[in-house]
């Protein structure tokens, strides 16, 4: 896989079928439905539980706005990923081009996906810091790989759009 910026696009080329499939999974992975822990993380409380008025108003007025925001970002990403449609059975590598103006939507959706996956699997700090864990032997390993792969993409996008560098994880 190669990743670079070409004019107003971020280009991910030489994508093998496995990584292409992981990319296709981004919108689905970002969906917290059916996982209370993931839902709770994406829509966390804005204040201590004692601040009942703030929390109630937030739930009523701000949370729907956040849901719209996250859904909109995910839809943008899903539309970009349509480039990969129809190539599921191909064993040839493919290329994904992301318009630079969609970079923020990608950052947001990748973050949603990473948070949802991590909440669903309740990864430990040790697992999250083990970037060289291999091989992938279980669904949990695959999910951890997804979190790290999406993080790598986030780092690349950040570096390209904001001049940020670095690969450390918080």
């Amino acid at each position: 896989m190669e990743i670079c910026r070409r004019n107003d696009e971020l280009e991910i080329s030489d994508l093998d079928p496995f990584l292409a499939e992981l990319l296709r999974q981004i919108p689905l992975s970002a969906n917290p439905e059916g996982a209370p822990a993931a839902e709770q993380r994406l829509f966390s409380s804005p204040a201590d539980a004692n601040q009942k008025e703030i929390c109630a108003e937030w739930k009523l007025y701000v949370e729907p706005e956040l849901r719209r925001l996250f859904r909109s970002a995910t839809e943008t990403v899903a539309a970009d990923l349509a480039q990969l449609n129809g190539k599921e059975k191909s064993i040839r590598n493919c290329t994904l081009r992301i318009p630079a103006q969609h970079a923020d939507a990608w950052l947001n959706t990748l973050n949603q996906a990473r948070l949802v996956i991590a909440a669903k699997h309740d990864f430990t700090d040790g697992e999250l810091c083990d970037h060289y864990r291999s091989p992938i032997g279980s669904r949990r390993d695959l999910s951890l790989f997804q979190v790290n792969f999406y993080g790598f993409l986030q780092e690349f996008i950040l570096r390209e759009v904001s001049g940020f560098a670095g690969t450390d994880l918080d």
Binding site: I54, E57, L69, N111, L115, D168, L169, D170
Partner: protein, 125 residues
């Protein structure tokens, strides 16, 4: 709708948090001479005077670079200051990013949640 977190609270017509509530109370008192509800309004003013702080909490998933970028965007902090707060979150578990009036603090927390950071609003002790 734009996918990007709102940066301008004034543009948010349906936002009814503290500012709207106080505004509603003032409109109500203006039209009801017999019942000016002064005590209630004074209470609202006092509430506004209490400083609030925006606190960001550590999260093992969010990238350090991403958190720094968010602090720069939301608060307009220079990179060094944003990094310093990010490192405080990372090492101490939390950092106070801003303090001031409640309405503004609420807006900041909303923006931070739009970027999926763990942020809360707290009354200054």
């Amino acid at each position: 709708m734009s996918w990007q977190p709102r940066r301008d609270g004034a543009a948010q017509s349906e936002r009814p948090m503290s500012s709207m509530r106080v505004l509603d109370e003032r409109l109500a008192t203006a039209s009801t001479v017999e019942n000016p509800a002064l005590e209630k309004e004074t209470q609202g003013e006092e509430e506004l005077d209490v400083p609030w702080q925006v606190v960001v909490h550590n999260d093992p998933i969010n990238l350090m670079t991403y958190v720094t970028m968010v602090f720069q965007r939301v608060f307009g902090y220079p990179r060094e200051k944003a990094e310093s707060h990010m490192l405080e979150v990372h090492h101490k578990g939390r950092s106070i990013l801003w303090s001031g009036v409640r309405e503004r603090a609420e807006l900041y927390v909303q923006q931070l949640h739009g970027y999926l950071l763990l942020a809360t609003l707290e009354k200054v002790a």
